[in-house]
Symmetry: C2
């Protein structure tokens, strides 16, 4: 796992020369920079691009696209590189388009509760920018990803159960197509029924249809009251049953997160907390004072009906921050359970009615494998993650981890679910798309072919011919 | 307006003969049946198809598509014909695919709060079917449309402000493509980030990319408590200001509908009500007992701050039914103001911050035109409608109505809005798409061309070459 992807580069020297001339010191072929841009936070093999360019405007991106199109050179958009399925790997070489300098907030329309930002603005940057407006941007995948990257990967995270994913929160976008044309999708109206939904075609397209350069997002009112709680359960089944009852009772819970006892151990290690080593739920409630009290009381009762113990309430902002910081660092907590190991990360999402059986069976699979693999999940959506801890030098372990991943994915697909609730396809999950989508995958290929006939936009992702190999 | 569209039919006799042989008495060329299928509820010129076929399964639809594809014959899907922009008109002849016999509810997954239905199931039929589950399907465009038709037109209606449009409530679908291939989009998981969002590409595609034969929809819990209210205002501006404050305060109002005093007069005429002849808001609140009381109190205060008077509360189900029946019959109420007139219906949607100015300016335009045109709207979304009452024989009036429509649309577009919030494009709003979408319209054409290279699926709608003519 320390080597690199070996596929011949399709970069044309003429394209690189033209970009070098045009962008000057905003163009680099430095090995260290290229290396950093060919690797995301996943365990997948890196693949550095041949060059990295730093556009500062949509027009800059259009120039890059026209040059690359002319010389049939691949283009890979890059935000901050926090993706988890190898999305940024330059599998066929090409030019990395780093959108990090396109980090201006363009418009805040507080009255309409929306914002328009350049693609390189991160979610924390946006929230800091609007902190005095009484509004916030809720989608929270943990990492401080760019809004362009979150749009491209259809990100979600802990609050999606209440506020939706990027699919629900992106109102429109600007994108540069493979031939350099610039399109702007959506309007500032809250709904429209005029024409194909190009916004949502680009949400989740992972750079394979064009480069997203600006995003208009929905903002939400900061809730009057917030409270959070942690409690633990006698078994994983009891915890998941509590989640299911909560969702089915219609409580508009803002976050509901599951950690198995292995993950709790990792969290305690890393974040110096002292949660009981048992399957645990983290909750957060948003609303009016009365509404939050009503939600908390109802969910507390549902949890106790399922044997919950050790309730800890966090109503002060600093207590809540500590709690969610611990949750957000769950990945590093997991890694701390086996120093030196890498995390083979995967996520699936299933219908809520099948969640208990899928989580419990996955737990059995992990135990049978002998691997350490904490389970953590945005279970209100039916979404859970595994961080399989492997020694990257041990090929046997890597194979075992891949086999475990496959079992988890196939179980999710058989339950009517999806091979990724939020991490996306990149090139890590290509192999499962045929099973998940069937004939619909051929339609995705048709669309890709129509929009990017020379396969220049992030080639090898989502709809690569590899998908059916 | 009593004549028909005159464009040569592209139907091949071989296709009609093959379908007649294959479908027997589920195929007809009866003039009366064809006429009924070439006209929706709009004022647009009808255009009857050359034949009507009644499939009973997705496979039947695939057979029809293969026959039509082989002989390059247009196909127009048909639900119950309640569209409002000429969506079902067979502008180039062809075969109408009436999905009315595909009216089986296929699955109700109460635990997962979703359902799967054949495209011909109507929203009232689905709600009757699930009435004992504690769940309901909220999208309510007024008409008892089919779920296939509502999906194809991205319908919304009175409750979209709380529960979203079809964009938010369709989880997946089955569609037959122009060449007869069958695809199934989406999974039963609540979210997924694996591949292009084909579900939302088909939502709002108006039959131009394929025939939707099955739809999976999200269901919602029947609220514990519901209350409704009506009140009137000194001016349109005051009413709209109340809407804006309500939305901005984050109250999760379930419906918030505006009627101007002309529309109120029509409602009183038609529904035998006695609402004061003034700009009026109809509200509905959903939630827990406490939540509804809290919402109603807050909104009541906002309304009174804007001069509201004559509050009438409807907490009993029969009072609420009466109120919403009156609202749903607003169209017929409007028509009653000028017996013999036809309603030239249009809708636009604007950012909420621009709503007051757009509605007030529209009112001035109507007064200047001398036409009678009630205003009614789902104003919580920034969406409002005009029913311009015209004598169809009076060409001068028809022209004036068209000019008024254009002014309303261009004002909405200048305000950052859309030329249709919920009625769609059909062929009635083709002329505005270039202005609204710019270069993005060319991308819609590319997609249409890729999926339907012979322009067989509902030709002349959304992305017709006419759009830029």
């Amino acid at each position: 796992m320390t080597s690199e992807h070996k596929q011949p580069s399709r970069s044309a020297p003429e394209a690189l020369a033209a970009l070098a001339a045009r962008f000057g010191d905003r163009y680099t072929t430095s090995p260290a920079v290229r290396e950093r841009h060919g690797q995301d936070e996943s365990w997948h093999l890196p693949a550095p691009p041949d060059a990295v360019v730093y556009p500062e405007s949509t027009d800059d991106v259009a120039v890059i696209a026209r040059v690359c199109a002319e010389h049939k050179t691949p283009m890979i958009p890059f935000g901050v590189g926090t993706s988890l399925e190898g999305h940024v790997a330059a599998l066929q070489g090409g030019v990395c388009i780093d959108l990090g300098r396109m980090n201006n907030v363009l418009e805040i329309n507080a009255e309409d509760m929306d914002a328009r930002v350049q693609a390189g603005v991160t979610r924390k940057q946006l929230n800091a920018y609007i902190k005095d407006t009484g509004l916030f941007f809720p989608v929270d995948p943990g990492a401080d990803a760019t809004l362009g990257g979150m749009t491209a990967t259809r990100a979600s995270g802990t609050t999606a159960v209440r506020y939706g994913t990027m699919c629900d929160n992106v109102l429109g976008l600007t994108a540069v197509l493979a031939d350099g044309r610039i399109i702007r999708t959506g309007t500032r109206a809250r709904k429209s029924s005029t024409g194909y939904d190009l916004t949502r075609l680009f949400v989740g397209s992972e750079g394979t249809l064009g480069v997203i350069t600006e995003v208009a997002v929905r903002l939400h009112g900061v809730p009057q009251a917030v409270s959070a709680a942690v409690c633990n359960f006698p078994s994983l089944q009891d915890a998941v049953d509590t989640v299911i009852s909560t969702i089915q009772s219609g409580v508009p819970v803002a976050r509901i997160e599951l950690l198995d006892e292995v993950q709790v151990r990792g969290v305690n290690n890393y974040s110096k907390t002292d949660y009981a080593l048992a399957p645990t739920l983290f909750f957060e409630f948003h609303g009016t004072e009365a509404g939050v009290a009503e939600q908390a009381q109802l969910v507390g009762q549902l949890a106790r009906d399922n044997g919950a113990a050790g309730f800890r309430w966090a109503t002060l902002p600093e207590e809540r921050s500590k709690l969610w910081e611990a949750r957000h660092n769950a990945y590093y907590g997991g890694l701390s359970l086996r120093p030196g190991a890498r995390g083979y990360v995967t996520d699936v999402c299933v219908p809520i009615s099948r969640l208990a059986e899928c989580v419990v069976a996955t737990k059995r699979d992990i135990e049978a494998s002998g691997l350490i693999a904490p389970i953590v999940g945005h279970v209100g959506d039916g979404n859970f993650h595994l961080v399989i801890l492997v020694d990257p030098e041990n090929q046997d372990e890597v194979r075992q981890a891949a086999a475990l991943n496959e079992r988890v994915v196939h179980r999710a697909l058989e339950a009517g679910g999806t091979c990724s609730g939020e991490h996306g396809v990149g090139y890590g999950k290509l192999q499962f798309l045929e099973t998940e989508h069937g004939e619909a995958l051929s339609l995705m290929r048709t669309i890709k072919q129509a929009l990017d006939p020379h396969n220049l936009m992030n080639p090898g992702k989502i709809v690569s011919p590899l998908a059916s190999a």
